[in-house]
């Protein structure tokens, strides 16, 4: 059994209650951090642990904290990005729903390290039932002296707020999230300046994913060495993977980074193999925005090595033969899946969710969707396939925020790996599935 950091006590009944959480040793990490560590020492621990941002980009958390402008006299903020809305990713929901105090404890530890006096949990509006659970947990924490003035008798004070979003995918992009939190239209900001210098209300801000923050109490309790002992290479610790698609056991799994992909898909401990014993066709390894990989490339790298669930191994081969860890939305497709139809679904999503601020993304996403709709509907031409590649190339990297990349990568990779299937659609003038 792999080490469980985030999901260890998740099955304990009534875990959302603060007393149950405390009975399992909850909030002892906070006590340890406040009594034994200075804020800089907490940052140092996180740096040494090798924890990387779990929202998708995998940026080292401690380094991100190190960028915050401590010279500025403005207040500093920690914001938790709970706007989980990537198709295929449903891991963060689980933490807030079943173990909200772990998130709150992590928020207090993180805020302490950054010297923030106020912190926000920006939560996706559709998770309305989770909002209630988190709000109740925040109230309990206030009553128990864990939030508010002089936390646990120390001279550190913090206010924590839970702010629901209004259902825009783009608000998961950190600067759009900050705009939305300020009460404005959720348009991503043009960077630089980065949030660590000019963030929420123009003050230095750190935005972290739920899973990243929820891992902090364990790191403080068990030490950075214990955390970095788990994992492989520069991918330390555990990661939540939300597995879905044509597998026998869809669900949320906590894996130690470095687990072979083959084991993850086929072992009974995890996905339990492909449904009905079907043949594996393709996998989207990290949520809809990462490149899709065919079976042979997801199980083994182009060099023939077994592919592992780690940031480096999944990315091996670049975008030619590799993909990305992303946010851990593991979508498995068997041989009955139409790649074009799947891609059309993704393209429709990105067209709908593009904020419309910059022209390549606004026009490119809708154009790609329309072309895919034509191909899937049997009216495509061979020229359309090359046109799609060309549009994707011009959207990628030319946009303000990564949504343009996220819309372009699936298109480019699907055509790269499954071109015959697109051509078949055009030749037959219908979908062969």
């Amino acid at each position: 059994m792999a080490t469980q950091i985030l999901l260890k006590n998740i099955d304990v009944p009534g875990l959302t209650d603060i007393h149950v959480y405390k009975g399992l040793g909850g909030y002892s990490a906070l006590e340890k951090a406040l009594k034994n560590f200075t804020p800089d020492q907490v940052t140092e621990e996180v740096k040494k642990s090798g924890l990387r941002g779990r929202g998708g980009a995998g940026f080292p958390t401690g380094m991100k904290w190190g960028f915050i402008d401590k010279q500025s006299e403005k207040p500093r903020y920690l914001v938790c990005n709970y706007d989980e809305s990537e198709p295929g990713t449903f891991k963060d929901r689980y933490i807030g729903e079943l173990n909200p105090h772990q998130l709150i404890e992590g928020m207090i530890i993180g805020s302490y390290a950054l010297g923030a006096k106020s912190a926000y949990i920006y939560i996706r509006g559709e998770l309305f039932y989770v909002i209630k659970i988190i709000e109740k947990a925040i109230q309990e924490a206030y009553k128990n002296g864990l939030l508010g003035n002089n936390i646990l008798g120390s001279d550190y004070s913090l206010d924590l707020y839970c702010h629901p979003g209004a259902g825009a995918y783009i608000c998961g992009e950190e600067t759009a999230l900050l705009e939305s939190l300020e009460g404005k239209r959720g348009n991503p900001r043009i960077k630089p300046p980065f949030p660590a210098i000019v963030g929420l209300y123009d003050c230095p801000t750190v935005v972290n994913n739920v899973e990243t923050i929820a891992a902090l109490p364990w790191i403080i309790t068990n030490g950075s060495a214990a955390y970095s002992a788990i994992g492989i290479g520069n991918s330390k610790g555990t990661k939540l993977i939300s597995a879905c698609g044509h597998i026998n056991k869809p669900g949320i799994y906590e894996i130690e980074l470095g687990l072979p992909v083959e084991e993850f898909i086929y072992s009974d401990e995890y996905c339990g193999g492909i449904i009905n014993g079907n043949k594996l066709k393709a996998v989207v390894a990290g949520g809809s925005s990462v490149p899709i990989l065919p079976a042979e490339l997801i199980l083994k790298t182009a060099a023939g090595e077994p592919r592992l669930m780690s940031y480096e191994s999944l990315a091996e081969g670049g975008f030619k033969t590799g993909t990305m860890m992303g946010s851990g939305g593991f979508i498995v497709m068997d041989h009955t899946t139409c790649i074009v139809k799947n891609l059309l679904t993704f393209a429709r999503f990105y067209r709908h969710e593009s904020c419309g601020q910059c022209s390549p993304c606004r026009e490119g996403t809708s154009w790609m969707e329309k072309i895919l709709m034509r191909i899937e509907g049997g009216q495509g031409t061979m020229k359309d396939i090359d046109l799609l590649v060309n549009i994707a190339k011009h959207v990628e990297g030319n946009t303000i925020c990564p949504l343009g990349d996220a819309a372009a990568w699936p298109v480019a990779s699907a055509i790269l790996h499954f071109r015959e299937e697109f051509e078949e659609h055009v030749k037959l003038q219908k979908c062969p599935f």
Binding site: I190, E353, P360, R362, T399
Partner: protein, 307 residues
């Protein structure tokens, strides 16, 4: 403060710290200036949206000579000492500019023959230089009905490229903004809030800052093509604005009043609605003389004071 050395398309200049690549290029002038569809130097926070001004930075700075990994928006990127920028000399930047032009045009109605902006339209200029000769789209375009967003301003949303300039004008030079961008993505549109009309003394400047024909002057619509008119610099004593305007004359008739625009199409000064809409008699104005028009402009073909 020491000046920063920057090279744009092999032209070396020295500029003050805090200058953007776009403004550094404008100090040199000529063909090295990237086109700007959304950037407007008089509006704070503008730029970065249309992506037509993307350039390649071949060398980040003298200290860190690595090239920047992506093309950057020259209107929002500050120059560093020793930076080397490639605009027209970078095939990559030119290729992406062509693509952006195509993106801007795929939902554009191409109704230049009936559009009041034709002849002074930035999108026309852009597609003349960077556009493809053929269209690669077969899809239907977005269609909106033209609406009056104020009693003097007509909005043709079909033509809009969502540069946000009019939104910024309303934010920055009027006391209350009542219009904005509604919706998201390709279905976003400029509009007013429910049952509100744009009505304030400086709202007419929205028409002047609009790079395309999305916002047009109701008092001038369909009166004349711009190249049949002759522009004159004129002024009047105005209590609200500087009163310095351009009168657009056809024969003896004054058809339109606009602000004075510089060579990048930006207003020198914002003018009030009184001057713009309510003083359509030549006798209201003191005429200074013919306005200098760039020789390459189609407007100059009827003009005697060529530059």
């Amino acid at each position: 403060m020491p000046l920063l050395k920057v090279t744009i398309d092999n032209v070396e200049i020295e500029v003050e710290a805090g200058t953007t690549i776009m403004n550094a290029a404008r100090q040199v002038g000529g063909h090295i200036v990237p086109p700007a569809m959304c950037y407007y130097s008089k509006l704070e926070g503008s730029g970065g949206k249309c992506r037509t001004c993307l350039v390649r930075v071949a060398q980040g700075s003298a200290k860190d000579p690595r090239p920047m990994p992506k093309l950057v928006a020259s209107c929002r990127t500050l120059v560093q000492d020793g930076m080397v920028v490639e605009n027209t000399t970078s095939p990559e930047a030119m290729d992406s500019r062509q693509a952006i032009t195509e993106f801007l045009l795929i939902n554009h109605p191409l109704d230049c023959p009936v559009c009041d902006q034709a002849g002074e339209c930035h999108l026309q200029d852009l597609s003349y230089v960077h556009g493809l000769e053929e269209t690669r789209t077969v899809e239907e375009r977005r269609v909106f009905k033209p609406i009056d967003i104020g009693d003097k301003i007509k909005l043709h949303m079909n033509r809009c490229i969502l540069c946000y300039r009019c939104v910024m004008v309303a934010d920055q030079i009027t006391d209350k903004r009542v219009h904005g961008v509604l919706g998201r993505g390709d279905h976003s549109e400029i509009s007013t809030h429910i049952q509100q009309a744009v009505d304030n003394d400086f709202s007419g400047n929205m028409i002047d800052v609009c790079p395309v024909g999305a916002l047009t002057d109701n008092t001038f619509r369909f009166k004349s093509r711009v190249w049949f008119m002759k522009p004159f610099d004129a002024n009047r004593n105005c209590t609200k604005c500087s009163g310095k305007v351009v009168l657009w004359m056809k024969g003896e008739e004054l058809l339109r009043v606009t602000g004075r625009k510089d060579k990048y199409g930006e207003l020198e000064e914002f003018i009030c609605n009184d001057c713009r809409f309510d003083h359509k008699m030549v006798t209201d104005w003191t005429i200074e003389g013919p306005r200098a028009i760039e020789r390459h402009s189609v407007i100059s073909q009827n003009h005697y004071g060529k530059q």
